[in-house]
Structures are given as structure tokens and as C-alpha cells.
């Protein structure tokens, strides 16, 4: 026991230096003004950003739902294949993550542009007249697409690891007792994969809500999300560390609430099982 505590000491130092102290600084900035006096005015100025929080939550939630819908059947298929095949499929899911995040987003930019791949293809096929284009880039849709593409693996992997543990005999038992495909899904697979869904939702929703750069590259920088707003508060002519710190703090609280809600569902499941 003592041994294992000693082993955790470097991590404790790391946490103190790079998590606890910086967090303290953020809190300090959020509740002080330029002169260093205590103030709540930063907090009240956050009201202006209510809409930005709203649009971030909405886009983040849409991206999360799409990820969940896409990832669920995929993760199930992977979990039901065997050996080599399974490893290869997991690898393919991870593959895009080996490339830099920015690079992947830039790639989408050149796919969606007015003279990008899709529009050129449509023109070549004759669905579009020359010189015309479908407006794909610089829309909210493009932003959601960017989020789904970048965060999908974070949904697939936890789902897959939970589903891989579902014993085939449980499914067979349900079938033997007369369940059809739909009932097997609803009564067996769905409840057993809830923990994976919950951690997947957290792992997609949290980075999606706080994302930045995607809005700039795929959204035309026209409507900021909360991550972009925080960025401009720290870099830029209008830099205001105090408001920026408050925004980060509110975002952190929001994420904590989000995690608490998913934790609640998790707990609720346990209660029912008990």
C-alpha cells in the first residue's frame, strides 16, 4: 500500500504544478479586475455570451447524436467479428488520429470549398452548371461535419470495448426464449452498452462544445463558438484575461454538470440492477 502511494508521488506533484495551480490562477483571474480587486462584473458580463453557449451546446449535441448513431452499429459489428479482422477494423478506426488534427480539417476545407472536390465532381457529372456551386463550406453544417469527423473515434472505441464484453450466450439465451432481433437489441444489447454510450457521449460532447479552429476553418469565422470566444479573449487586440478566465470557468462548470448528468444515469442503472 505504502509502495503504491510512493509511486503516485510524481503524479501528485505533476497535478499540483500543472492542474491545481493553473486552475487556481484561472479562478483568481475570473474574480478580479485589472487592479487585482475582487469583482463579480466579469461574471455578469458573461450574459452577453449566453447565445454563444447556446449555439455551442446545440452544435455539440447534434455532433454527439450523429456520432452515436454512426458509431453504434459500427462498434457492434466490430465487437462481433473475431481475431485478426477485429484488430484490423479497430486499427482503421484509429488510423485518421495518427494524422494531425489541423491537417484533417484543412483536408475537409478543400473538399467542401466552392471549387472543392464535391462541387467539381457535381459539375463534372453535370448536376451543376459551370460556374455555379453548392454552398457547403462556411455553414453550420460544415462545422458539425468537422466535429463528427474528428471526434467519431472517441465514440466508437468506448462503445466497442463495452460491447466486446457482451457474451454471445446472453444474446443466444434471449433468442432461445423467443425474442426477435428488435427485442434482443432493446432488452439485451442496448442496456448492456449503456456504460460505453455514456463515456462515448462525454468524450465527444466535451471536446465538441469547447472546440475552436473548426469554426474558423470550416465555418468562415462568421459565428464564434465558445472555444473561439475564449481564444480571442487571450490573444488579440481585445484580449481580456479576466473575461476569458470567467468564460473558461463557466465552460468548466458546464462540463462538470454534463458529466454529473451522465454519472447520474450510470448510477441509476446500477440501482435498477441492484
Amino acid at each position: 500500500m505504502i509502495k503504491s502511494r510512493g509511486a503516485a508521488a510524481p503524479f501528485a506533484v505533476w497535478m499540483a504544478l500543472f492542474t491545481v495551480i493553473p486552475l487556481g490562477i484561472v479562478i483568481w483571474f475570473a474574480f478580479t479586475d485589472d487592479a487585482g480587486n475582487f469583482t463579480l462584473s466579469n461574471l455578469s458580463s458573461i450574459i452577453e455570451y449566453a447565445g454563444t453557449f447556446g449555439i455551442s451546446i446545440a452544435l455539440g449535441a447534434i455532433a454527439t447524436v450523429i456520432c452515436l448513431v454512426l458509431a453504434f452499429p459500427l462498434a457492434y459489428t466490430i465487437s462481433r467479428t473475431q481475431g485478426r479482422m477485429q484488430q484490423t477494423m479497430v486499427m482503421i478506426i484509429m488510423l485518421p488520429m495518427w494524422m494531425n488534427f489541423l491537417l484533417r480539417t484543412y483536408a475537409w476545407m478543400s473538399i467542401l470549398e466552392n471549387n472543392g472536390f464535391i462541387n467539381q465532381l457535381l459539375r463534372a457529372v453535370g448536376l451543376l452548371e459551370a460556374g455555379h456551386s453548392v454552398e457547403l463550406i462556411n455553414t453550420s453544417g460544415a462545422v458539425v461535419l468537422g466535429m463528427v469527423y474528428n471526434f467519431l473515434p472517441f465514440m466508437v472505441l468506448p462503445l466497442y470495448s463495452v460491447m466486446a464484453k457482451i457474451d454471445n450466450s446472453v444474446i443466444e439465451a434471449a433468442q432461445d426464449l423467443g425474442s426477435n432481433v428488435f427485442q434482443v437489441f432493446r432488452k439485451v444489447i442496448l442496456p448492456l452498452s449503456v456504460p460505453g454510450m455514456l463515456s462515448g457521449i462525454t468524450m465527444v460532447f466535451v471536446p465538441a462544445v469547447s472546440t475552436f479552429v473548426i469554426t474558423k476553418l470550416l465555418g468562415g469565422s462568421k459565428t464564434l463558438m465558445i472555444g473561439d470566444a475564449i481564444e480571442t479573449m487571450f490573444i488579440g487586440q481585445g484580449a481580456n484575461y479576466h473575461v476569458g478566465a470567467t468564460l473558461s470557468l463557466v465552460l468548466m462548470v458546464m462540463i462538470l454538470i454534463c458529466m454529473a448528468v451522465t454519472g447520474m444515469v450510470d448510477k441509476g442503472e446500477e440501482d435498477e440492477l441492484a
Binding site: G54, I57, G220, S221, Q237, G238, A260, V261
Partner: protein, 388 residues
């Protein structure tokens, strides 16, 4: 730390006065830290400098004045030579962050175009040596934009006819600058109502914009993603280049007024190698080096002899070296007073923030979270009661 630096500097100064001869010569063993814009120097120049003087150059890039300011302000790195723009120099001087230059060490200053000396941001010309300058104008693609529409001047950027094919700057000062010019106000107006009018203009512009953009403007204009973009004149060389650019792109400066900008060489006050920094600045102002840089960067050079030796297609081009009539109406940015600057930042944020209607959604989500939480608490209480 600051105190230590002051003492160290004082010691250095004392040593300097004790040993006047050796201190007057630059020390070839030091490494100069230079902080400049990206793509803003001919790649051979730093090596040439090291070859001639022995002084090594540690060269770093920044992308905008604000991030450079953030680095200087945080003290994360100490630089010996920086290249801020006009208004930023004014701000740095006001905050006491720049060192007064010793111009006896910079004899090539005599080559600098006198009309760029003693500018509003440095009225006595004590802190800065102009490095490049230029004006802001509109780049347009001749394939799609009618020549006749150029009559619109700045209003071209609001034209419904080219809706979805127009860019503008993704930084408040330049975006508001154009909006102010369009409305017929001064770039540096102190009247908050005029700023509000400019804000309304920017709001009205949003629907016709393709996007707010900075450096990506090159690729996007060359690929004809959009057809109209205001940008700094010197960048035209890249965009209009026959091979790497798009020859269909052309440029004009609206006659009603524009922004004149100067990027100048300065030495931060905490630089430990001021003498060597001045040597470096003098080197950059030498005719052959200034010529190399002018050809590479494409911005207008303040060095008169270098300009005379430039290809006349550039050196005599009115887009890059505008006639007096344009220059007279051009304004340089001055550092806005705190209140006006803050007002501009607020308006810019307001322009970029989501429609306030979205706050209704936020409130709904908040209510939903509260409801979920209370339902959960109720459930837990029931569960524990049952258990008991």
C-alpha cells in the same frame, strides 16, 4: 527579474563608460533574437549578416501584432529586434517598452524616405526605423468582377451582386477601418457614434461575405474561392504572380481614402544586446540588403536607393508606390484611447457572437439540467427510503 535586469543593464552601461572603445564595437560572440512577421525577410539575409559580423541570429516569426505583444508582455522571451506595425509601436512607446535608438550606429538611416520619418506613432523618430510600408486596397478577380463596378470603391465589399464571393479582414482594426472609410469617417475617429455606424455597416455586410479571413486569403483568392478581398498592397505580388498566383487577379486602391501602414524595426527596452541590434538594423537598411528584402517580401521599401534599383514595373507601379494624391488622403492608424479601443472590441465581439435568440436555447438547456438533477435527487431519496 525586472530589477535584476535593470541592475545588469546598469552594470553593462557602467562597463561601457569605463571601456568606451570596446563597447562601441558590436560584440561578435552574441546571438541576436529577432522577432519578425512570417515571410518577411529574404532567407539569405540573416546568413549574410552572420558572415559579415559574426553575430548569430535566432530568427522567430509572429502572425500578428497582438500575439507579438502578448509574448513581449508575458516576458516569455526576450527579443533584441522586433518589427511591430505603426499603431503597435505607439502603444509600446507609451508603455515604455521600447529603447531609444542611437542613430550614430545606424548611418544608413539617411537612405530612408523622409516622408516616412517622424510619423504620428513616433513623432520625434527616436524609437523606430521604417522597414516596409504600403496601403490597403482591394484585390479582385478580373474574370468575374466588372471593371465598371470598381467605381463603387469600398462599397464594392458590400455589393449584393457579388454576394458570397467577398472576403474581409478577420481582425477588428482593419475590418472596422474599411467600414469607417465606407461611411466617410476617419480611421481613427474618437466619436463612438461613428463606430456604431460602422458596426451597423459590418452587420449589413455579413450576409454577402464568404468569410472573414487573414493569411488564407492567398490560397482562396488564387483558387477563385472568392473574387473580392481587401488586403495589404504588398501581398499582391504573391497573389498576382504569373506562376504561383493567379494572373486574373488585379488590384486597386479606392480613391476616397485608405490606410497607410508602416512596419518598423524597434529594440525592446529589455534587450541585452542593443548595440548589436542597432548593427542589425543598420544592415537591413543597407541598399543591397534592402533591395533583396524588397524583392522577396513585395511590400514597398522605404529605402530610396533600393527602390530606384527595383524593376521599374514594381518600383514605378502606382499600386505599390502610390502617387501623392492617394497618400494625402491615406491615414495611418494611431493607437486608440483605451475607451475607444474597448468599444471597438466589444462591437467586434458582438458582430461575431451568435444571434442573441440563441440565449433562449441556453436557458432551456439550463432548465432541463436543473429538472434532470432534481428528478435524480428525488429518485435517490425514494431509493434510500425503500432500502430502509
Amino acid at each position: 527579474m525586472k530589477r535584476f535586469l535593470t541592475i545588469a543593464l546598469a552594470c553593462l552601461l557602467l562597463m561601457g563608460s569605463a571601456l568606451p572603445i570596446s563597447a562601441a564595437e558590436p560584440d561578435s560572440s552574441v546571438t541576436l533574437n529577432v522577432y519578425n512577421w512570417g515571410e518577411y525577410i529574404d532567407p539569405t539575409v540573416n546568413d549574410l549578416f552572420t558572415e559579415e559580423t559574426g553575430i548569430k541570429v535566432n530568427y522567430k516569426n509572429f502572425t500578428d501584432n497582438e500575439s507579438m505583444y502578448a509574448v513581449l508582455d508575458s516576458g516569455a522571451a526576450i527579443y533584441d529586434v522586433i518589427v511591430p506595425s505603426d499603431y503597435m509601436i505607439g502603444k509600446l512607446i507609451n508603455e515604455g517598452k521600447l529603447a531609444k535608438l542611437d542613430f550614430t550606429n545606424i548611418p544608413n538611416m539617411s537612405q530612408i524616405n523622409p516622408s516616412l520619418l517622424n510619423p504620428s506613432y513616433d513623432p520625434q523618430n527616436e524609437y523606430s526605423v521604417p522597414y516596409t510600408w504600403g496601403t490597403v486596397g482591394i484585390f479582385y478577380n478580373t474574370k468575374y468582377v466588372d471593371e465598371a463596378d470598381l467605381q463603387l470603391g469600398w462599397d464594392l465589399l458590400w455589393s449584393e451582386k457579388y454576394s458570397g464571393r467577398i472576403f474581409t479582414f478577420d481582425n477588428p482594426r482593419d475590418a472596422f477601418g474599411i467600414a469607417l472609410l465606407k461611411c466617410g469617417f476617419s480611421l481613427n475617429t474618437l466619436d463612438l457614434n461613428e463606430w456604431n455606424t460602422a458596426y451597423d455597416a459590418l452587420r449589413a455586410q455579413k450576409p454577402v461575405l464568404h468569410q472573414y479571413v487573414m493569411d488564407q486569403v492567398y490560397d482562396k483568392m488564387i483558387n477563385e474561392e472568392a473574387w473580392i478581398a481587401p488586403y495589404y498592397a504588398g501581398d499582391g505580388i504573391v497573389m498576382m504572380d504569373e506562376e504561383e498566383g493567379n494572373p486574373a487577379i488585379d488590384f486597386f486602391v479606392p480613391t476616397t481614402g485608405t490606410n497607410l501602414f508602416v512596419d518598423a524595426l524597434c529594440v525592446p527596452v529589455d534587450s541585452p544586446h542593443k548595440r548589436e541590434a542597432e548593427e542589425y538594423i543598420n544592415f537591413l537598411c543597407r541598399t543591397d540588403i534592402a533591395l533583396l528584402n524588397a524583392e522577396y517580401i513585395g511590400y514597398s521599401t522605404p529605402q530610396e536607393e533600393a527602390r530606384a534599383q527595383l524593376d521599374p514595373e514594381i518600383g514605378e507601379n502606382e499600386n505599390f508606390y502610390p502617387p501623392e494624391s492617394v497618400l494625402q488622403k491615406a491615414e495611418m492608424y494611431i493607437t486608440l484611447p483605451e475607451t475607444v479601443g474597448a468599444h471597438m472590441d466589444t462591437l467586434w465581439m458582438k458582430l461575431k457572437l451568435a444571434d442573441p435568440a440563441w440565449s433562449v436555447f441556453t436557458v432551456l438547456v439550463g432548465i432541463a439540467a436543473v429538472v434532470c438533477f432534481s428528478l435524480y435527487v428525488v429518485r435517490r431519496i425514494r431509493y434510500y427510503r425503500k432500502k430502509r
